[in-house]
């Protein structure tokens, strides 16, 4: 049983596709799923795979909350992760993983009304994914507010592109050159602002029973009430 729990989760990870997981692998993993989850052996082991990609960072800006205008307010900025802030390297790496995690779970606002009408289950999954991203993002903002009392916190996600070796040979560039950074979707968010535009809730009783989406719709609506 243990060896099955070791072997099948990464297999399930690999056999996951756009229409879901392989039915045969789903059957195999069912008896050991919770066992492997608790033992933390339900991993995919996809280190730097399928391709080494760009890094993802969180940029935070803290300004004096008393100032009404963001433009006039004195602002301090910090990047997460940052070798100057986090030491030793293990601490830096944990913060780096946090920024990558926020990017990994990113899901755009929505779902669009058309999806709600056409596929309620898919719309519910969309809402849950979005709610997860919002919850983690809000938790990060709340943490920064706690560390910077009285300040207004805004964060945004950045992508740090990797230059190819051909680019590097033809036009040498510092790896931290500003032109390699890209601001990602969802505008900078400040606590107390509600930027979500949530599709209206259809009859919640129609949603699949295993998905607790009623609470999510409410959470999305009252996003400003941070947890």
């Amino acid at each position: 049983m243990h060896l099955t729990a070791v072997f099948v989760p990464p297999l399930a990870f690999q056999t996951r596709g756009p229409i879901g997981s392989s039915p045969s692998i789903e059957t195999l993993i069912a008896p050991v799923r919770r066992y492997s989850q608790f033992l933390y052996i339900d991993r995919g082991y996809a280190f730097f795979a399928p391709d080494p990609g760009p890094s993802h960072l969180i940029q935070a800006a803290m300004d004096d909350g008393e100032n009404s205008s963001v433009a006039d307010a004195p602002m301090t900025e910090r990047m997460i992760p940052d070798l100057k802030d986090q030491w030793p390297r293990l601490s830096y790496h944990r913060h780096f993983m946090l920024a990558e995690f926020l990017n990994e779970i990113y899901h755009p606002q929505g779902p669009p009304s058309s999806l709600v009408e056409q596929n309620l289950e898919e719309a519910s999954r969309w809402q849950q994914s979005r709610a997860r991203y919002v919850a983690v993002r809000n938790s990060i903002i709340k943490h920064l507010e706690h560390e910077n009392p009285g300040k207004r916190v805004r964060i945004r996600r950045l992508e740090h592109r990797l230059p190819s070796f051909v680019e590097m040979i033809n036009h040498p560039i510092e790896l931290d050159d500003p032109q390699l950074y890209r601001i990602l979707a969802d505008p900078a968010f400040a606590s107390g602002e509600n930027t979500e535009d949530v599709a209206p809730l259809p009859n919640p009783n129609l949603l699949p029973k295993e998905r607790n989406s009623i609470q999510l719709f409410e959470d999305d609506r009252s996003e400003e009430s941070l947890q």
Partner: protein, 328 residues
């Protein structure tokens, strides 16, 4: 003629089955010396201790109600609020008091230190593993490969008499030899460093788990393009956030970095097969040392790279570490 052929097939099948069962028996149930496990225990325990000490320096950034991912969100990431619930449970989700968190962390550090030192290892190993699991399920979002490998090693080591050598337990057993030999509970608590089936089962389980990690690590890479066109190593060294040693000069030598890319991919995929034969094992282990050493030195993951090298020691034969041939 048919009868002769039938008898030959029957005998061949019977022999094959008997040999297979014997090989299975040898693989799993041959007694094994615990010396390698003792070294793995020290290294794993120290790495786990280091992780907990680093976490101690920023405990409230990662645990409690004001953490990067606060308690409420940590619960929601596992309880099905955002999809399907999982079994990754931790009591640390419910601890709000800073005093309790600090006290809990001090206890964790003490138990982990005892595990590393081999002090009452029969009890401190499972305790260290369980506490580590509780932290893992609380630190969702801030984990990486190091956390996986150090946890797996601790899990398998707790199944073995890993505290029977290079340990405080071994010293206690020598000191109280008479009592240990006459009392069963003490004999179990402070085991002798003699060959045991438990040492072999724990070793085999971790060896297989390591093979699974490499196999799927390799297969995951094989689904990409950059591991095939040879540029993956370049993109790994060109990642500023991972960089701890500037290796971008390698960009001027495409044949070198593409060779490194291909060797890494094929080594990782073939590891599960080539690590077992005595002929290929040293080569596989040398490449492991080079790959993980490179990750440790150049890519800012000294802890992960070191831990993977340590993990590969599980394929070292324990008799190499015995003091003299008479020990066998």
């Amino acid at each position: 003629m048919i009868q002769v052929l039938s008898a030959a097939v029957k005998k061949g099948t019977t022999d094959w089955l008997r040999d297979s069962v014997a090989a299975w028996d040898r693989f799993w149930f041959s007694p094994r010396y615990p010396q390698v496990l003792g070294i793995l225990r020290i290294a794993t325990g120290l790495m786990l201790l280091y992780c907990h000490c680093v976490l101690a320096s920023e405990l409230f950034r990662f645990l409690g109600d004001h953490a990067w991912i606060n308690n409420a969100t940590a619960v929601q990431l596992h309880d099905g609020s955002f999809g399907v619930a999982d079994a990754g449970w931790s009591y640390l989700w419910y601890i709000e008091s800073p005093t309790v968190l600090v006290a809990h962390h001090v206890v964790t550090i003490l138990i982990t230190a005892a595990f590393a030192a081999g002090m009452v290892t029969r009890l401190t190993a499972p305790a260290a593993w369980f506490l580590q699991l509780m932290y893992l399920h609380r630190l969702t979002g801030a984990l990486f490969g190091l956390d996986q490998i150090v946890t797996y090693l601790t899990m398998y080591l707790m199944l073995t008499p890993a505290g029977s050598c290079y340990s405080v337990d071994a010293w206690l057993r020598r000191t109280f030899a008479d009592k240990c030999s006459s009392r069963r509970k003490l004999a179990w608590l402070f085991p002798e460093a003699t060959p045991s089936v438990a040492a072999n089962v724990g070793t085999r389980l971790f060896q297989i788990h390591l093979c699974v990690i490499y196999l799927f690590g390799g297969l995951s890479k094989a689904r990409g393009e950059l591991w095939w066109d040879g540029t993956a190593t370049w993109f790994a060294v060109a990642n500023y956030e991972y960089q701890s040693l500037d290796m971008t000069w390698i960009g001027e030598y495409p044949r070198i970095f593409s060779s490194l890319t291909h060797v890494t991919l094929f080594w990782e995929i073939s590891y599960a097969a080539l690590i077992w034969p005595r002929l290929t094992r040293p080569i596989v282990l040398l490449i492991a040392l080079a790959v993980h050493g490179g990750i440790a030195i150049c890519m800012g993951m000294v802890t992960f790279g070191t831990m993977m090298i340590i993990a590969n020691l599980v394929f070292i034969e324990p008799h190499w570490l015995l003091a003299s041939p008479s020990d066998e």
